[in-house]
């Protein structure tokens, strides 16, 4: 049974592509494209003031890695056009009296426009812009305090922030591990139903149920090859994450692989269960898309944090194994925590897996109707 399944997969380039190609493509696409980091926001500048003070402010923007100055301009119309054509996503206007106000120690204003059609980027860019502005004003006040005669100028409060677990706040550090949860689900919940349903459709399943083979043997025979493929994908994902995306794995590799194996089995059992119920390739793959792939994507905390979801949806996330696995992944990759912090997640994954597997075996009656 197992060998036959391997032969099938080997023979069918489409299966092979789905098994290995799709995960890799996903990994690369997400790794590179789904960067939630906002860097090098194209910025257009209208410097009305043209003074050393305004130049300093602008140089703080252009010197930062978050903004790239794409041009200077003179007039609201051009700013309008640049934002509309997406040549620039932000515009900075330094008014003509900027230097004068700074010199007088008055409140100097600079105008900042943002293309809000990409709300996420805009919010983050706004944060950066404010940080730059406040750094500039801090340096101004500092200079003023010094000027006023204090030898050691000091600001009343200075917050020194340090981000733990993901020092550079790089999104790939959690996207690359998180994608593993999605990849495994594709493996599990898409390929297995296709394979089982194909047997129903070609009539070979009818033949199989007429033979003395036992139900659990059949289920496990189907499961094992895809388990192997899944585990190969786990290793590939870990390797690509480590060597291509340079995502550090702080926790134990062995623990990661072990938990991935449990999660994979849960997905595979779900896949088998679905294909037993639906019996057609199309229905099975659609059902698995809705029941496994989307939850792995949307409800796992991979893209958006679970704590930010409204409570009914937050409760639903507990129903899907991806939630636990993503927590494990984040913990292992970024925090480097050990098993002692993950008992709940591991326990839930185990329970989930055993229930699904038992259900799959039980429901796989060797009957047609």
């Amino acid at each position: 049974m197992i060998r036959k399944e391997f032969q099938h997969i080997g023979r069918d380039p489409r299966s092979l592509g789905l098994a290995f190609g799709l995960p890799m493509i996903l990994l690369l696409i997400f790794g590179y494209a789904l960067s939630l980091d906002v860097e090098q926001v194209p910025l257009i500048i209208w410097d009305q003031s043209r003074t050393p003070e305004s130049m300093r402010l602008i140089s703080l923007f252009s010197g930062s890695r978050y903004f790239t100055v794409v041009g200077g301009t003179a007039g609201y119309k051009e700013i309008d056009r640049a934002l509309e054509s997406r040549e620039a996503m932000a515009a900075l206007i330094v008014p003509i009296d900027f230097a004068a106000k700074v010199a007088l120690g008055k409140e100097a204003e600079a105008q900042f426009f943002l293309d809000g059609s990409d709300a996420n980027t805009a919010t983050i860019a706004l944060g950066y812009a404010e940080a730059i502005a406040s750094a500039y004003s801090q340096s101004l006040s500092l200079a003023a305090i010094k000027k006023a005669g204090h030898r050691k100028g000091n600001l009343p409060v200075e917050m020194r922030a340090r981000v733990w677990f993901n020092d550079d706040l790089e999104s790939k550090n959690f996207i690359v591990p998180g994608i593993m949860a999605v990849i495994l689900m594709i493996n599990a919940a898409l390929l297995i139903p296709l394979s089982v349903a194909r047997e129903w459709e070609t009539g070979t399943m009818e033949q199989l149920v007429s033979t003395p083979i036992k139900g659990p043997e059949l289920v496990l025979g189907k499961l094992f090859p895809y388990f192997c493929i899944g585990m190969v994908n786990v290793l590939i994902t870990i390797a690509i994450g480590r060597y291509v995306f340079l995502v550090p794995l702080k926790g134990s590799v062995v623990l990661l692989i072990a938990i991935a194996a449990i999660y994979l089995t849960a997905g595979l059992s779900l896949g088998i269960l679905l294909s037993i119920v639906t019996k057609s390739q199309l229905a099975a793959s659609q059902a698995s898309l809705i029941l496994s792939f989307l939850p792995a994507f949307m409800l796992s905390g991979f893209i958006s944090p679970i704590s930010q979801m409204p409570w009914p949806i937050r409760t639903i996330t507990y129903l899907f194994p991806a939630r636990y696995f993503v927590t494990v992944l984040k913990g292992l990759y970024m925090k480097g925590i050990g098993i002692s912090h993950l008992y709940f997640e591991c326990g839930m994954l185990c329970v989930y897996t055993l229930c699904l597997l038992a259900l799959a075996v039980k429901n796989f009656q060797k009957k047609l109707a």
Binding site: K4, H8, R11, E206, Q207, P212, A369
Partner: protein
Amino acid sequence: MQQLRFEKAVDVTNLEKRFGSFVAVNRISLTVNRGEIFGFLGPNGAGKSTTIRMLCGILTPDGGSGTVAGLDVRAQSETIKQHIGYMSQKFSLYEDLTVEENIDFYSGIYRIPAHKKKERKEWAIGMAGLERHRNTMTGFLAGGWKQRLSLGCAILHEPPILFLDEPTSGVDPISRRRFWDLISDLAMQKITGFVTTHFREEAEYCDRIALIYRGEMIALGAPRSLKSEESRHQFFDVSCRNPLVAVEAVRNLPGVRDAAAFGTSFHLSTESAQVAQEALGFLHRGAAPDAVMEKIIPSLEDIFVSLIETYDKSHQGVSEVNQ
């Protein structure tokens, strides 16, 4: 595999299967002797496959009881599976595996002991005539080859009973002929064959046949005895220019049991020669002045058609009441 001792290959009473309100198989009772080729005939949708699936243990009957190979069809369906070969109409082979890989797979599934594997494989390849195509992808094989390979796979474990569900559909006549020779060979080795088909001429290969129609068994017996039983009626071949019109004209005459178009002529079955002569006269006066009538010995086809027509006539009243 341990040898089973059993008298009747199949022995069922009042077997019944319903899908919702639709009665697919309505209280069928039959016995099949060892080493017999038992034909199960009927039009598509009559309940042939459903019956065979119940006997093979892959459908649970809703009513009735019985044994296959001496084992209870309800309680011991998994054990039955060890002692039967089943071949469905779809030739359940893996098209993306080679001939040898298919055989290897099924010999694994049937748990053929290692020392017998090679011998059984060579036997199956030889039987199917696939010596030169061992490593061909099964998907590329012609229908007749697939069919024989499928048969080979179904009997790798040398089961004493073989269930074949429309084994010859989609296969050319020569392969069909060859296939029936194989079944006859197996019957010589005391292997029971339970074969469904909707090709009437194939019934002639069977020792006994059952005719199933709308879930009910309407005739059972050896082909010869069915013929003689029915031949108390008179069968005629009537040729005329427009047989379809003529069939409608005579169908409801008193004493006419059945009239069915048959190529360029039509077959008429009546209760007596007298009735036939009257019908011919009736045709000459109206629908078919050119009709020529000839007495024939009925084929199984004639007998089945007439049995089915009789069944329909006798049930017409019932179904109208039901509606």
